[in-house]
């Protein structure tokens, strides 16, 4: 499974995906969400979707001093919480700002590409792609 952003121009900014991600982490509210939606400088200009885009060659594991982050098979990264010291290098290096932070344990929170949020996107902005699937998405 891989989460992809099909077209952020379709986004109405309802943030249902953010709440879904928190529920997936057995939480209510927004503290534990690994996806965020904010306006591109005012709602009239549309929205930015901030979420891990599963880079083919992700920079975050390269700056992890403890080897806690490794590239996942289909893109994206897996975090080994036990190895992580919470240095925050990964967060600084992510151009997408897609590494969120759990301030309770002082460690990163990163989208696991489970696809749960996509079930709650009412307008087809994001989708969960199965391994064999290919989907046309906006560049």
């Amino acid at each position: 499974m891989k989460l992809i952003v099909i077209d952020s121009e379709r986004c109405v900014g309802c943030q249902s995906c953010m709440f879904a991600c928190a529920r997936r982490h057995h939480e209510a509210g927004l503290a534990k969400s690994c996806i965020s939606v904010h306006s591109s400088g005012g709602m009239e200009r549309g929205f930015n979707l901030v979420v891990c885009r599963a880079c083919d060659d992700p920079p975050c594991p390269k700056v992890c001093p403890t080897g806690a982050l490794r590239r996942a098979r289909r893109g994206g990264v897996r975090l080994d919480l036990e190895k992580c010291h919470g240095c925050g290098n990964c967060r600084s290096t992510c151009l997408l700002k897609a590494i969120f932070w759990n301030s309770e344990i002082n460690k990163p929170m990163i989208c696991s590409h489970c696809g749960y949020c996509a079930k709650f996107c009412p307008h087809g902005v994001i989708a969960a792609l199965k391994e064999e699937e290919k989907l046309e998405y906006a560049l």
Binding site: V12, G13, C14, Q15, S16, F19, A22, R23, H26, E27, A28, G29, L30, A31, K32, S33, S36, V37, H38, S39, G41, G42, M43, E44, G46, V50, F120, P122, H123
Partner: protein
């Protein structure tokens, strides 16, 4: 027992002392849920009897509820204050990101007291409160103020930016507070209360966790409500054409107030309809936080520069039924572009679009009949549909260059008491009418309504579904209106959007509330609704409200509706019945 303690936290902000404190009020939220139920209690506690609505004693209360940030469409914040427009209870609801941001910042309510000597804005980021100088943005329009504060403050995506425009600063009694560019605490003058406190804006952000009693059950009930919200035909009209869908059906029924309600049909209604706007101008749709419906419709108006060749400006303008009625049909307007320009200007000035339209409509008729002349209007000929003149008039209303515009800035009741034309001054309880002339129930809903606004009122559907077939007795109508009114107190205490009222039925509400630690059956909920309603009336009566003293504008009796056979006497009898039921 509240499951999430943060709901019961009330933040008190004192603008005079530039200080703040929090207090825990679990007893208040356990008894009255949140939103309107809690806000009216906080108003009783903090608003002294007979206080000046524009004085430092008038508090601004903001409240959310147990469903906020937990369930879809739990997207509204309730504001309560003493209204500078009516001198009585002010209640206004707003969506945008306001409700989720307030709850995620860790509060169930905020009370803002006092007055600042110089322009100020307040930023609440979680448990931190900052008082910041606003002298450099005082005087700016609501849209530009938003642009500036977006850059200045943290919390993008997790915040609300409530602000006023020049109308609030100049104390126009029906100035609004705008959030997220397009949503409003529209009615009853919260903007003027902000202005009187020299409060330009309140920014709130946060992203905390919330506790629920049972995670598994939470997910189950959430999915059921979400599914209903996105698939139910009941929500269709809100996401497809938006509330603007109402223009054509109401016009067909003869319920669309036109030319100051001299008529109830506009011949060219198709040119300002939701269908026309969608086809020619709809540029984007937006949603409030945690609402998958996305009813906010934004028109893209592309206009060439009048002088420079190949130079265009594109404005993104929010449209909804009520501003289209008030600034469109009510003004006899059928030019969509003119209507959009006026809606855009009203937005930037920070005026309530509904009151503004009704006031301009009265002024147009008053000029036609000779109550006023171009001497009063400062040279403007306010003919029906003359948007050129209306665009200038709204500026004058805010700037108030003479006695006449100072009167217009205080509403149609005030203006008509000075210049005549009471019979066609369309305000009830001091507030300008909403866009439904369907029959007696819609007008009565406004007259008896607990918050003098349009959304608390199920009257227009009672007119269409019941009274159009059979005019029931005054007693029966009073009971029907009150029953709906009581339930709406619950919806506005949870707080869910009234557009979702068919999704949040009594049993669904009872089950959703379990997750926050409430165990209430539907009957108990209705009991709480009744009590909240009574508490609002207690405030209203304290401030001089009396059902027997309400002015009924003659015009609503003169223009026929689809309901036949009612007159002033019928309206009075219904109000007497309401009084009787409430005192028993």
């Amino acid at each position: 027992m509240l499951c999430d303690e943060s709901l019961s936290t009330v933040l008190h902000i004192d603008l005079s002392k530039k200080s703040f404190r929090t207090e825990k009020r679990p007893e208040l939220f356990e008894k009255y849920l949140g939103g309107a139920g809690v806000a009216i209690q906080l108003l009783h506690e903090n608003c002294p009897k007979d206080c000046d609505p524009l004085g430092p004693e008038n508090p601004i209360i903001l409240a959310v509820g147990p469903l906020t940030a937990l369930f879809p469409l739990g997207s509204k914040t309730v504001a309560m204050f003493k209204s500078p427009h009516t001198g009585n209870l002010g209640e206004s609801h707003c969506g945008g990101r306001s409700a989720v941001a307030l709850r995620m910042a860790g509060y169930g309510g905020i009370v803002i007291e006092g007055v600042s000597e110089t322009p100020i804005y307040v930023a609440v980021h979680g448990n931190k409160v900052y008082f910041r100088d606003a002298s450099s943005i005082w005087g700016l329009g609501g849209i530009v103020t938003g642009q500036i504060l977006r850059e200045a403050e943290a919390g993008t995506g997790f915040r609300t930016i409530m602000r006023i425009g020049p109308a609030g600063e100049k104390l126009v009694s029906y100035a609004c507070v705008t959030t997220e560019t397009y949503r409003h605490f529209g009615r009853l003058g919260l903007g003027a209360v902000f202005g009187s406190k020299k409060l330009k804006s309140v920014v709130i952000s946060g992203q905390q966790s919330l506790q629920v009693t049972d995670q598994k059950l939470y997910r189950e009930i959430y999915e059921e409500i979400y599914e209903n919200a996105v698939t139910s035909p009941l929500m269709k009209k809100y996401h497809d054409l938006g509330t603007a869908e109402n223009i054509l059906p109401l016009n067909e029924l003869g319920g669309l107030p036109t030319r100051n309600l001299q008529e109830a049909r506009l011949a060219q209604a198709a040119d300002i309809s939701g269908e026309y706007f969608a086809e020619h101008y709809l540029g984007r749709r937006l949603a409030c936080s945690h609402c998958p419906v996305g009813c906010i419709h934004i028109a893209a108006l592309r206009e060439p520069d009048p002088v420079k060749p190949y130079f265009y400006k594109t404005s993104m303008i929010s449209y909804d039924y009520e501003p289209m009625y008030a600034l469109g049909s009510m003004l006899g307007g059928s030019d969509a572009k003119g209507l959009m320009r006026l809606m855009d200007r009203v937005e930037a000035l920070g005026l309530d679009a509904m009151s503004t339209g009704v006031i301009l409509a009265w002024a147009t008729e008053a000029q036609e009949r000779g109550n006023i002349s171009e001497k009063e209007t400062l040279g403007l000929a306010l003919g029906w549909g003359n948007y050129h003149a209306y665009l200038k008039a709204v500026r004058f209303i805010v700037e108030q260059p003479n006695h006449f515009y100072r009167a217009l800035a205080q509403g149609v009741d005030r203006a008509s008491s000075l210049y005549g034309g009471r019979d066609f001054a369309l305000a009830m309880g001091g507030n300008e009418m909403p866009g439904y002339h369907t029959g007696p129930a819609s007008h009565l809903g406004v007259l008896i309504g607990a918050r003098h606004s349009h959304l608390d009122n199920a009257g227009y559907s009672v007119d269409q579904k019941i009274l159009a077939k059979n005019l029931v007795s005054p007693q029966e109508l009073a009971e029907a209106l009150l029953m709906e009114e009581h339930w709406r107190q619950i919806l506005s205490s949870l707080v869910v959007c009234f557009f979702a009222r068919d999704i949040y039925k009594k049993d669904v509400v009872a089950r959703a509330l379990q997750l926050s630690g409430f165990s209430l059956d539907p009957e108990e909920l209705i009991g709480i609704g009744k009590e909240i309603h009574r508490e609002k009336y207690r405030f209203k009566e304290r401030e001089g409200f009396s059902l027997g003293q309400l002015r009924i504008p003659k015009r609503i009796l003169e223009t026929p509706t689809l309901v036949e056979g009612w007159d002033e006497n019928y309206l009075i009898k219904v109000m007497e019945s309401v009084k009787e039921i409430m005192s028993s």
